[in-house]
């Protein structure tokens, strides 16, 4: 089952141009990242005169001529097509209310379940307290609609979930899922990473699950370091 999640990871992992060799340093809002006309302001930065100013607290990254700002703290901002992990909090006549740890709760309509569900027996499919991985179908001011139609989506059974800071999810996934695949490979666990920072792990033994969790937490904490994939690999060698 775990392999099926990779598709979702690839789309929201680190982008191609954020190479590990690029220079990264912490900036505070309003701070001048670099001066000069040669640079282009990227995401989270803006140009004032001939300076590039940070618009957020985070890691500034100079990749060639483009200055990018990688946030390292902050709440989850839902976007369409994000895969998230959530918990069923209520059952209404037309669907399930899902807590996805964002400012508005998610709604999963009964039609969006992959198989037919009888309206009178909705709790036999998903009951209150169940944990699911779902895809965000639309984000509207009045709420977020979810769907379970898609590869690897559905109820998560057994295993356990924990949280990391949502803005560090791209690092945990790595470029095209490289980081999460490495952890899966080394521990033999099934891992699903939700864009909302919830992570579900299920392995053959408790030990391997704990090891996977430690690895994920290490990646999210060492967010300011480059070349993390190698470091994690080295860490696994040590642990053995």
């Amino acid at each position: 089952m775990s392999e099926e999640f990779n598709g979702a990871h690839e789309a929201y992992g680190e982008s191609e141009d954020s190479s590990d060799s690029a220079k990264r340093f912490v900036v505070v809002p309003g701070e001048t990242i670099i001066e000069g006309e040669d640079y282009l302001p990227g995401e989270g930065t803006k140009r004032v005169g001939n300076k590039i100013i940070a618009g957020k607290y985070g890691l500034a990254e100079i990749a060639g001529r483009v200055i990018k700002l990688i946030p390292i703290f902050g709440a989850f901002v839902p976007r369409r097509n994000n895969v998230v992990i959530g918990r069923v909090t209520d059952i209404t006549f037309s669907g399930w209310l899902i807590d996805i740890d964002s400012s508005t709760s998610g709604f999963l309509p009964i039609e969006e379940s992959p198989r037919f569900v009888n309206r009178n027996e909705m709790d036999q499919y998903l009951k209150i307290g169940d944990v699911i991985s779902a895809k965000i179908w639309s984000v509207k001011p009045k709420g977020i609609d979810l769907t379970l139609k898609g590869k690897g989506l559905g109820r998560l059974e057994e295993g356990f979930i924990f949280r990391i800071i949502p803005s560090r999810v791209p690092r945990v996934i790595g470029r095209e899922g490289s980081m999460v695949n490495l952890i899966k490979e080394k521990t033999g666990c099934n891992i699903t990473v939700g864009q909302n920072g919830w992570i579900w792990i299920k392995g053959a033994s408790i030990d391997s699950e704990i090891k996977a969790r430690k690895a994920v937490e290490m990646v999210s904490e060492k967010v300011h370091l480059g070349g993390l994939t190698d470091k994690v690999e080295a860490w696994f060698m040590e642990e053995k």
Binding site: V28, P29, G30, G55, K56, I72, F73, T104, P141
Partner: protein, 236 residues
């Protein structure tokens, strides 16, 4: 003139009390910080952006900022009765106005960012310490910001303009008495976002006081910047 005047704790006229700044003191909050000017200690926690209730307060054009400032009951010598008071409600509102120009909530319609500021220990200058803590906490919460907000109080004892009065100086009674002048500004811009005065001052000396305030704000900014940067490095 100011140099001859002896301050009770021996500071120079433009010298601040010892600044302590720390980020990430409340793990459950989206952003949090502690800021202290000597014996005045403030903590701030930021939650959000999150759904705003009651609904009638929602703004469909942009998110709103909601500040709460309060003294904890043990922060002052005579126990402070807990709960909002006329004074704390006013300071909550001016803090909100002081922070608003720095933060951009247009991405979060109908939502709210809650900022809660509590004073652990009060020794004059609590609103300025609160604003400094809140500005660091907002930054840590990862919100889009134009700049950090720095705040400091300047004052006057008799004829002498001094930076960052402590309680003893605030209660000074000789000569012209004591004046307290709280300012807040955007760190890298010449934009003041808060200016409050308590006491008396000659109109032509206001300029001198504000200028001293702006000058010492730089020191506060450096402390905030350092705390925000150290917070990431500590996680190594």
């Amino acid at each position: 003139m100011s140099k001859e005047f002896k301050r009770p704790d021996g500071r120079k006229h433009n010298e601040l009390r010892k600044i302590t700044a720390k980020v990430g003191v409340i793990p459950n909050a989206d952003g949090s910080a502690l800021f202290a000017f000597g014996d005045t200690v403030a903590i701030a926690a930021v939650y959000g952006p999150r759904q705003l209730h009651p609904q009638h307060m929602q703004n469909p054009a942009k998110g709103i900022l909601r500040c709460t400032y309060d003294l904890l009951s043990f922060s002052v010598y005579d126990r402070k009765k807990p709960g909002p008071s006329r004074r704390s409600m006013e300071i909550s509102k001016v803090t909100e106005w002081a922070l608003e120009p720095a933060i951009d909530l247009s991405e979060f319609p109908n939502q709210v960012v809650d900022v809660q500021i509590y004073i652990l220990q009060a020794d004059a200058g609590t609103r300025t310490a609160g604003i400094n803590a809140a500005s660091m906490a907002l930054a840590q919460a990862g919100l889009p910001m134009k700049d950090l907000v720095v705040s400091v109080a300047v004052g006057k004892n008799d004829k002498h303009i001094l930076a960052d009065l402590n309680k003893e100086e605030e209660d000074y009674e000789e000569g012209e008495g004591a004046t307290d002048f709280a300012i807040a500004k955007l760190a890298n811009y010449d934009e003041l976002t808060l200016m409050q005065m308590d006491g008396k001052i000659q109109p032509k000396r206001v300029n001198e006081a504000v200028r001293l305030g702006i000058e010492v704000c730089k020191e506060v900014y450096e402390a905030q910047k350092k705390a925000l940067k150290d917070c990431v490095m500590e996680e190594k």
